[in-house]
């Protein structure tokens, strides 16, 4: 007979692909979001916070860069059989809000939004199913001045959170130029935009992979297709050599200045009206940014930027960190993209039938934090609290009073609230909390009206081998009157 088993205990685990954030991981992100919000605010953007849950109908059932419906999101049916889902980005909820409140919102509507989004995708190293986005969008502004503004704001945001000029670049391109190039290559028919959609998709993805596949790999994808190291074949766009040359020329169109790049792009788009309009828009953006002092060391026109998403209709932009970091294997690599966006004129139309021009950017806050930590510009431990130790558990009220006095003076402080029996455990706890000072009052001190302050930072330094001078100059332990507690702690904290 099988033995009876007591019911299995629940596993204390996050679901696959989710994680917890502790201590400075939380506060550093909060501080970064706050700093970016200040920039967005200064540019006239107003905050919007939508809820995590939307109807699948409003979300559109699609992740923007995934073709399969109902995949990529966490969804469920509510009691009315309506499908609900967690938002996968902050743009889809904005489109819903812009449609729902179109009679009340100012137009143009500049809004920023910050918060977690959820993707039901395969998690991987550093890839989680919940992560933060930090977006700013302008809805109802047809002018590319709105796109230029977003680029300037992105540049300001990066510098505000601690990425110095020279360590990043905002690259700008225009989908219309790309469409013009496609037209020149015989892959775009302005009169029937649905023709060659598949081929253009392949070209778009090929361009996006230039970094990874190199020129030869992209050429293969533009032509017959490409076989990778494992033998898998990716279908090509089937372009003739002359057609492929035009596309390759586009990717290499970047010149020393924005003006020269624009000239080269004009050559490439030939007589395509769409392409010429796109070049004109890039020139306008460059002029606006130049006038505000955003030179090519911060924002530049770069035809190799295409952005993966299908919904962009005009300018697209991407911010890249240009410094190198060491990856998991210790190899140097460029950190890469931390933000991107562009103009999308059709998202609100889904709801209202009317096209509403919109443009915006999304900053990948978690990646930006990772970058700053990789550069050692962030990730310090927060200062721990002063720990009031407990020598006599019957005098808890006294110890709590000491901590209260310190806190009332603005000093972070707490009483040790574990079992006080073993004094060593109290000091171990203080160490784990990175506490700068332990306050000690046993029976003798209590009778004398004194307390002992133990300098734990100096103590640690002495343990690591401080010099004799240091030791003498600043004793690791002092006995002081109880009445001087706040003043002496403040002095010791420096």
């Amino acid at each position: 007979m099988a033995k009876d088993k007591s019911p299995r205990r629940p596993r204390a685990e996050t679901p696959k692909g989710f994680r917890d954030y502790f201590g400075t991981d939380v506060t550093e992100r909060k501080d970064m979001l706050h700093a970016i919000a200040e920039v967005y605010h200064r540019y006239g953007f107003d905050p919007l916070e939508t809820s995590a849950v939307e109807t699948v109908e409003a979300l559109g059932k699609f992740l923007p860069d995934v073709d399969r419906p109902n995949e990529g999101v966490f969804g469920w049916q509510d009691e009315d059989d309506q499908w609900l889902a967690l938002r996968y980005d902050l743009t889809a909820p904005l489109a819903r809000v812009a449609a729902q409140f179109r009679n009340d919102l100012p137009s143009p509507y500049r809004r920023y939004a910050m918060g977690p989004v959820w993707r039901n995708e395969k998690p991987g190293p550093g890839r989680f199913r919940q992560f933060y986005q930090c977006d700013a969008d302008t809805v109802g502004a047809p002018s590319v001045a709105a796109d230029a503004e977003i680029c300037a704001m992105l540049s300001d945001s990066l510098e505000t959170v601690g990425i110095p000029r020279g360590d990043y670049i905002v690259r700008v391109n225009n989908r219309k130029v790309l469409n013009g190039v496609m037209e020149a290559a015989g892959l775009y028919d302005a009169a029937d935009q649905s023709r060659f959609v598949e081929e253009r998709g392949i070209v778009l993805r090929a361009i996006d992979k230039l970094d990874r596949l190199g020129e030869a790999g992209v050429r293969a994808l533009l032509g017959e297709g490409r076989k990778d190291a494992s033998g898998d074949v990716t279908k090509g766009a089937g372009l003739a050599t002359e057609q492929a040359e035009i596309v390759m020329g586009f990717m290499a169109a970047k010149r020393a200045t924005g003006g020269e790049t624009a000239l080269r792009l004009r050559e490439l788009v030939g007589t395509s009206a769409t392409g010429l309009e796109g070049v004109q828009e890039l020139e306008t953006i460059a002029e606006i940014l130049d006038r505000q002092g955003y030179a090519a060391d911060r924002i530049e026109v770069d035809p190799s930027v295409v952005r993966g998403l299908g919904y962009y209709t005009g300018p697209v932009f991407e911010a890249e960190l240009t410094f190198e970091i060491l990856d998991e294997k210790g190899a140097k690599r460029q950190f890469g993209s931390v933000a991107g966006g562009g103009r999308y004129d059709d998202l609100v139309k889904r709801f209202t039938g009317q096209a509403v021009p919109a443009t915006g950017v999304s900053i990948g806050v978690d990646r930006l934090l990772a970058a700053l930590r990789a550069k050692g510009r962030m990730g310090g431990d927060a200062a721990g609290p002063v720990i009031v130790t407990v020598m006599d558990r019957d005098r808890m009220a006294d110890y709590m009073g000491m901590a209260a006095d310190l806190r009332n003076a603005g000093i972070r402080a707490e009483v040790y609230l574990g079992n006080p029996k073993n004094f060593g455990n109290q000091l171990k706890y203080a160490d784990k909390r990175a506490s700068p000072i332990a306050v000690i009052q046993g029976g003798d001190e209590c009778a004398k009206g004194t307390v002992v302050l133990k300098d734990l930072i100096l103590g640690a330094r002495i343990a690591e081998g401080a010099s004799l001078e240091e030791w003498k100059a600043r004793p690791a332990q002092v006995e002081i009157p109880r009445g001087d507690l706040v003043a002496e702690v403040r002095k010791m904290l420096g």
Copy 2:
């Protein structure tokens, strides 16, 4: 034949029970959370941010105050057939974290957490399915000093966010005292705590309803049961009159001072060891708080506080706002509870089998914001941006440059990015944005190198009938050199 219909457009609506937050609703909550976090930090608490999604297994399938499993949460099955759900509070994820990381976290572990939680409940006026909580808990501290600390911190938090002393009260009670009273009334058997569980539940809920039902209603529930106005019958606990008297006496046990209340409670619990322990704990808490200066005008022992949740095992506390507001119908009423908590020693045990003593508080941030707005202490409009109007769309770069100059000087500013054709629309937009100043530069001004500043706040005041003196002293419109833009705007903003 039925006409072909084009596919229905998606509805631009939030799901039932969810809502959007705009502008100051977002920033005021953020500021409040930040202010409370500062207090928690000063008390030595560290931030923790868990993800929105947990396994149903880890959440425990139950809302703490709901008896039915799998109700009250938003849940779904993932691709491995595991049930996942949105967290319904911040305590269940803490219990999971405390178990999962028990070898790494300091002990005691003081943590705070802030964020949205989700309840799959019937929404109502002011009741939403997503709302914010702001919790602080100490895990691994058996001493009631930890409970006293939480009460003091709650008091400090309320004052920090703008509830002055006298407008709130933190009430403290102890479940052990209640259990002692139950024992004295013959409803609690320390040797077999499962006896009379149903009766105790009815008594607990009856006490919790004293405010609403009055003494007679509670007496009915303690005895045979109660028929409400609609004729519905609520089952009673079936107590004899003498038993009911003891319970009623408990609710009325509050005296002028904590000491006198404790004396009265001692009488009521009689010889119950559990009850006497509870009274002793209340006395310890009162002593600790007194010593720190938290008198009865801030924190008081009040036996009528029981808290609905079943999982509390010791001290329970509740913060109530004592001022009156006007409800939706214009009637005066007390604002009521905005925070609550208590000691729960069994939540971590679910995972590990080992009891871990814990205590904590949850502040209902959205209710607190509503209270401050009801009192007119919050809810002002944010200052709108300075609006640079567009008189000549070919000089967009000039206008963008003006806005940039203002922003670089720290002044919130933007260029009007809608269709500039109708100047009236630009001023209407400025009005909608609560803009203080419109900057105007037409062809004439451009030729002269000047700009016009229009004081929109003064303009509005004049429209409302400002005095002639005011009008003269401060003209609503000035023409200034372009080079003085920043200085003059700053002067006008005051």
